[in-house]
Subunit: 493 residues, 4 copies
Amino acid sequence: MAQEKKISVEELSKHNSQSDLWASINGTVWDLTSFAPSHPGGLSIILEYAGQDASRAYNEVHGPSLASRSLPSFALKGQLDESTVTDEWKSKQVSNLEHTSTPDEKPDLGQILNTYDFEAAAQKALSKKTWAFQSGAANDNLTHAANVNFYRRIFFRPRVMVGVPEPDTSTNILGNKFSVPVFSSPAALAKLAHPDGELAMYRAAHSRGTTIIACNNASFSYGEIRSAIEDQDYPLLYQLYVNKDRKATEKLVKDVSALKPAAILVTVDLPVVGKREADERIQLDAGYQAQKHMAVQSVAGDKKGSGLARSTGSFIDPNLKWSDIGWLKTLTDAPIFVKGVQSAADARKALEHGCAGIYISNHGGRAVDTAQPSILTLLEIQANCPEVLDQMEVFIDGGVRRGSDILKAICLGASAVCLGRPYLYAVGYGEEGVGHLIDILKDELETAMQQVGIRSLSEAHPGLLNTAELDPYVYRGDTHPYARKVVRRQSKL
Amino acid sequence: MAQEKKISVEELSKHNSQSDLWASINGTVWDLTSFAPSHPGGLSIILEYAGQDASRAYNEVHGPSLASRSLPSFALKGQLDESTVTDEWKSKQVSNLEHTSTPDEKPDLGQILNTYDFEAAAQKALSKKTWAFQSGAANDNLTHAANVNFYRRIFFRPRVMVGVPEPDTSTNILGNKFSVPVFSSPAALAKLAHPDGELAMYRAAHSRGTTIIACNNASFSYGEIRSAIEDQDYPLLYQLYVNKDRKATEKLVKDVSALKPAAILVTVDLPVVGKREADERIQLDAGYQAQKHMAVQSVAGDKKGSGLARSTGSFIDPNLKWSDIGWLKTLTDAPIFVKGVQSAADARKALEHGCAGIYISNHGGRAVDTAQPSILTLLEIQANCPEVLDQMEVFIDGGVRRGSDILKAICLGASAVCLGRPYLYAVGYGEEGVGHLIDILKDELETAMQQVGIRSLSEAHPGLLNTAELDPYVYRGDTHPYARKVVRRQSKL
Amino acid sequence: MAQEKKISVEELSKHNSQSDLWASINGTVWDLTSFAPSHPGGLSIILEYAGQDASRAYNEVHGPSLASRSLPSFALKGQLDESTVTDEWKSKQVSNLEHTSTPDEKPDLGQILNTYDFEAAAQKALSKKTWAFQSGAANDNLTHAANVNFYRRIFFRPRVMVGVPEPDTSTNILGNKFSVPVFSSPAALAKLAHPDGELAMYRAAHSRGTTIIACNNASFSYGEIRSAIEDQDYPLLYQLYVNKDRKATEKLVKDVSALKPAAILVTVDLPVVGKREADERIQLDAGYQAQKHMAVQSVAGDKKGSGLARSTGSFIDPNLKWSDIGWLKTLTDAPIFVKGVQSAADARKALEHGCAGIYISNHGGRAVDTAQPSILTLLEIQANCPEVLDQMEVFIDGGVRRGSDILKAICLGASAVCLGRPYLYAVGYGEEGVGHLIDILKDELETAMQQVGIRSLSEAHPGLLNTAELDPYVYRGDTHPYARKVVRRQSKL
Amino acid sequence: MAQEKKISVEELSKHNSQSDLWASINGTVWDLTSFAPSHPGGLSIILEYAGQDASRAYNEVHGPSLASRSLPSFALKGQLDESTVTDEWKSKQVSNLEHTSTPDEKPDLGQILNTYDFEAAAQKALSKKTWAFQSGAANDNLTHAANVNFYRRIFFRPRVMVGVPEPDTSTNILGNKFSVPVFSSPAALAKLAHPDGELAMYRAAHSRGTTIIACNNASFSYGEIRSAIEDQDYPLLYQLYVNKDRKATEKLVKDVSALKPAAILVTVDLPVVGKREADERIQLDAGYQAQKHMAVQSVAGDKKGSGLARSTGSFIDPNLKWSDIGWLKTLTDAPIFVKGVQSAADARKALEHGCAGIYISNHGGRAVDTAQPSILTLLEIQANCPEVLDQMEVFIDGGVRRGSDILKAICLGASAVCLGRPYLYAVGYGEEGVGHLIDILKDELETAMQQVGIRSLSEAHPGLLNTAELDPYVYRGDTHPYARKVVRRQSKL
């Protein structure tokens, strides 16, 4: 059996090229030659470890079972012969993440009062590379900024003397009761911030009576995350990227569906990964020879850059269509959401195609820059097809930083609100950090509910808000004066 | 008699736990065990002085009679035996307010030209803790900033050649004539800024022909404030928080009413205290062991924070309802105002429930952040129920910094304008400072009246203003396009 | 004859109190006791020179003939006996303006490209006190800033290919042809910036084919300014403040009218002088004992401050009314303008009262702060009473900094545009500086005309502008939704 | 033959005045006396080299053939006698551009991720003088800033799940297919940034499947640029300034037309050159005696300044009219565009006069400041005369910095988009730099297309955008409330 074969460091070192590429991971030696080009994280990063030990870099972002689940059995070459390992060879195990600060620079969790404090703490604690990957957005970050600012431009019109002794923040979604309508947005590679990654996030959410959305590109598999808590019937959501290799997606959806996810949310706002310049700049600045080489090459060819984000997305199928919803339904019994709706027109389409819900998102400003802010899309849906809010679940993310933002989205018809970066920043403190984040948001939500004068979220309604500053920015559908005027002219000459 | 019993320092020191909690205050020893948990300022601050002398901290915020009026007679344990007091023990009397500057850093009063100068002076002169408590607002301080900025976005359209020799700023409210329609907002604990606290404020207001609103949480009791001037018939207003312990409120209202207040203003915009992060951060940063301990505890439990503000409000009844106006009327003959109206709908309700007036306020941006600015609520009332302005007195606070702001509010239908922080900052200079503040505002108001072309406030009208920049932001009642569209959907799945 | 009497320094020094107040000015000794309280520049500044020589301070702001023209003959006490003057006594002649920089710090005139360069140069070259007086505006300077910014928010919509070889900037106003429709706003005390003051301004304007508006409070009298050029028929405008002492005004108007001014412009936007805090702060900071004393006094009394501006305006009659236009017409044949119109309503009134023109102005933001910007008032007049633009001359000042601003005002219907501060800053360079300023503005105007596609100012029209950003801010007269809703309510209780 | 005559340095040095002005250029001696006053770059710069060698300054901005093509044969005096050239004389050859940095301070091209990076690199690498000339705009640069910002205020409303595997950015213009609808704006003197100047720009554009617009004031002639690539049929556009000397223009248009340009674009937005203060300030600051002299002279006369830009434009005919389109058509068969359209009215006129296209431009904010931003003019055309977009080619420049900006312009009806400064900054890296720029823009455009959900540019339409923030700023033609109200009044008095 290959599984038992002992392989020496000398032997491993010979397979160090793209056409013959071995690496050892946690004691097992794999032949990655055929896998490397389709590595979600990119070929180049694997090339750096050709003929070497990749354990440290692997463990920084992946759970232990990922290699054996993802690689074909014929790729297994044997076990690393520990007797041939020298200290010098060991010392070459390099991290892919250079740290810029030591963990103790982070403030105590007790000093963290809000999501902004979590952000400041993460910027201190994370490596520059991880910070660029997690905090960055597309191009000039205009949508990222507008996501936040547009919430701030909605005023409350509180009602007084209604008796608000014990505000009830609970909600019922997809037949499940949650203590607060707050989930983590699906975000890749939580291990970058903490070894427990998504496991910690799920444990904390469960302990607070809510849940998370497990990401297709999580550090841990859906099954691993599910098993982080004892109650295997507790609702957990799953986010899916449809792979260019549709067979791979079919297998994945069936595997996940066997574990009864509360819903599957198909991401549709990232047919190609956006241009994350902070991320790309880090790669260029880092001085890694292999990557610098790539960047120089790209001068003459592809200008899409080589950042972590761009590599991560290379397997996503840009050819996904509405008709594929039918195909997905043949693969699973789970309710299906479309994640990334950005117009009333597409909200209507999701309803027509029998989706259980939509998820309004511009991918945290990481897809196309200057995409309209999420809350503006929610207002657009209200103005053009309010029936959508009645007939489907509506999730929304992008710019939520306060409990009062959550209340605003709920008042405008959302079922639940998701946060991406704040959860990644909080998980730097592990499960306790994520719990603290949820506690903060729930407390801020309760306070806001009492102060605007409602006792439960079912009493939330648009009249509690003054959205007058944003109303003129709302796209008003087919009455838009430019909607029909222009057809692309052909050259006349 | 317990009152005469001598108690040694040694004896006092034994009662130093939460379950057996004694402290000496100005020579008298009290058993605070049963009182401490309901201390408006919070339990933790009392715990710091268990078994010790609390005089210095007590006197920093409370008038001398408060203890004997608030504590039951059985709590009186005796008199501190001065012969047992050592210098070392005395030196342990700590201030709860660490000073960051010496008093002489403050500019001379003659250098203070406007309310902003008072603010700058206060920031220099106050302890960090008091500054955070008084200057801070909720969350991101967006409402606090908008309160000020929205006044600045209203233009005057002055009228010329109308003859304005001697502008008359006087007004008649509730049957009383005041020299200017300017009162202090009810604000807690003026002693934090000056030993004379509210006494100085009332004396100065009286000397200028106007008055103040005595706060439920003032450093001095209503009776003490009333007695600060000789004329016991001079109008003084009273602001009331309704206590969770309604019996306590009944007693309080009856006691105050016996002193014939010009009106009682029930605060309704603070069913729970807002999240004042500057205030909470000071607590966390201060390094006080007891408080740090609390903060750490709160990681696992309550995220509402432990600031001075949050503690202060813990006795307020969140279950107050419109029907309670009737109950209050049975307790007093004084006219009743509802303080904290933030929508036209509630202005109408106050009228229906027979209130004498409303007080438009978002608690200086200290309740729910992003509550709409006060002047926008006044415009909303104009647009939706102008009859309210005709049939009730309308006070307004929030963002008034100039005499021209006062004139704008009056032009839009307010009866009187209140200022909170500026009075607290001015009282740092004692009675003379508050007098100087009122003089400045009156002079600015007179100058503005002459320059826009009116001789008395009865000539003020909206046509003197150009509110075009704010008009689109005004909520237009039931014609609001979103008002009826959304009902909270139940889960469909 | 008193005129010939020799008075020794010793004798002069004895009359050094408010009740017996002598001073020598350029060799003549005057008894100022009865005059000092009505000194337009304030009593306190004269008190500083009681019993002393005031020549230096006098010459800094006044032309040589002012004393003999303003003071009654009985005030003349004699000639200073030069033989009694000692060096020590001479050395006490103090300047009222402390200089903060030497003249050579100013850039060469050839380096001055625009009005902003003039402003920067003036800030360097002027004393702090003069800078505060000339550059400052009221309260928070919001109108001052908006005056400039609102011009910037108007876009041009240039027309191309119309043939614009030699743009003609000339205009015909009141029967006089001017090379450019640009005058200096009437501004006090140009001598503060340059010894030639208004004389230099008038000479430069004349040499460029335009004129100035001589200010009631100029350093030189109307006659002196008129005589600065040879052509005594050249048009010169005169600005008038109506004095509380109406007889004084009657004499003044008749004296000026004898010299055939092209028009008399009555200032009506300053019934009281605004609060110029920069100006007041300088007084307080300067450390002058006499003034400091005044400031301290003012703590207990008047909060109107003691700045140069406030003192200067104390003689202005706040009781001026529209009916006084008739009175003025009995005193002069000159066309009468009302300067300081700030609403369409008052533009209509000026027409009804037979004025030859109006002058839109908010006194450079120096009267009531948050008065609407001047260009907005012009738009208001267009929207509500465009006939005014047809039937009267319309001048406008406030915020004009570029030739393109001039063109915008002309497009919107103004006859001429005035600039205040830029002329004061330019006159620091004397006649050559003011000439340079007019050259710059004329060149910028010509360039703008060619680039928007007009050959003469008679072709200017509103369609060359895109005012869409400002249009919503324009007050729309009686259709304003708040115009009739609110009457001041009387107390109901 | 004069061409062969040897001329000594001593002889050359004698002709050193404006009335007898010789200079040597690359070994040839020319008599420039009659040419110098009409030098497009101004007389003064030539005067600096009177009687000297001008090769270095000439080569910095001009291609080698320009002198012999532009100067009459009688101006040729002979060849410089190299044997008389001394080292000392040689060392006097001065650059007209002082460098502030060495070339190696520029980042590697591989580090350039977007147009802003190119800008930052150029600011480092260019001389202050060239930077001021290329980056500067008119007066306060308000239009320059608004050009960029108005694109940022348009949001995308992406459509999802439409299948976008391989976006096609190609377009067909004037019968030619281009890989991307992106051209360089015509900009003067690219040699200032790189010796290959426009040659490099054209080679790079051709290699990427697109083209450039050769500028009338390019460093190289149209023929030289055309010859930079082998394919003489490849489409190249030509931009024309009509010369005050119409005969010169006739010759030029005929010469260019003989080379079959794809179109001739007549610039009409610069009847006079705008006031570029950064440019003028450099001249003043540089300390060049000749130029300082000019500036001082200008104090007394022309205030138009002496910057590179102002000089460059002095030959442009300000008297160009719409009727001249007919004249141009008699000179050429090439399609004619009008470059500089800034209103719907002029777009209509271009159609009426039979133009093949219009080019919306405000000259990069370098003509009249506060001209409306280009994208606003495109919206104005849509709102008032959408037929123009159907019947003519529409180019647009001004503010395009991202591929997403390109897509926005195309969605709103543009045929192609031009960029000026970014190409000049990129050409500092030569052909490779310009290629990199086009690659970046094409990649950003592809990414944006996929993310908003279109497969080819023919699918672009206004409904993909939310222009609600800009819509209120669009001029609405004859319905504009001010369009007819004001006529210039004549003086009434």
